[in-house]
Symmetry: C2
Subunit: 119 residues, 2 copies
């Protein structure tokens, strides 16, 4: 039971689109990720996903609209909804989602991370 | 699917120790609360609880130690562990926990909130 400092954890990695697990509770993971560029379109059939912006901003693209997310804001993407995060500049994001959640959902490609590092 | 701005939500209430639900996913709630003063000793038999400090700082007291939590830090309190938040000055906290979680856990008193407002 030690406090987790987000800035310290974010300072420990630089790669994009590679979520790190920094906490676990009730079968859910707290993950930190740095986004930059365009991710892949995907959905999660069984998991809702929360994105909280710690630093910067990004756009969550949906098939029918785009949602801009700024620092200090979060967005919940319900299961089954296709989405794609796009970040013009690097953004730091905290995710809250079931431990079973795969980063690319139903789209398996070179961005898929089957094993997540714990920080 | 709209972004939730924490500062805007915190501006909508002033009372202490009265969590507001601002998001729900996978059976979990995202709650915002303002703490000031000493809460009640309690534990949650079935739920782990995450406290993330958005503004200010507070001390989480345990029976065998105290943990200081500053802005930008989170702490996970495992189920079954007695704890008591104490805030010398007002602190703004975001909580992640199962929707079933009662704010005072196994201690029912005048601080217990059986119904939570949604913001």
């Amino acid at each position: 039971m030690n406090p987790i400092n987000l800035q310290e954890k974010f300072a420990q990695f630089s790669e994009h689109w590679s979520p790190k697990v920094v906490g676990e509770l009730n079968g859910q993971h707290i993950k930190l990720a740095k986004f930059q560029g365009e991710f892949v379109w995907h959905k999660h059939d069984e998991e809702d996903e929360l994105f909280f912006v710690v630093n910067g901003s990004f756009v969550m693209e949906f098939r029918d609209k785009n949602v801009l997310l700024n620092e200090g804001e979060f967005l919940i993407v319900p299961k089954g909804v296709e989405h794609r995060p796009v970040a013009t500049e690097e953004v730091w994001v905290m995710l809250f989602e079931p431990a079973s959640t795969l980063n690319t959902g139903d789209t398996i490609n070179e961005l898929t991370k089957f094993e997540l590092e714990k920080l």
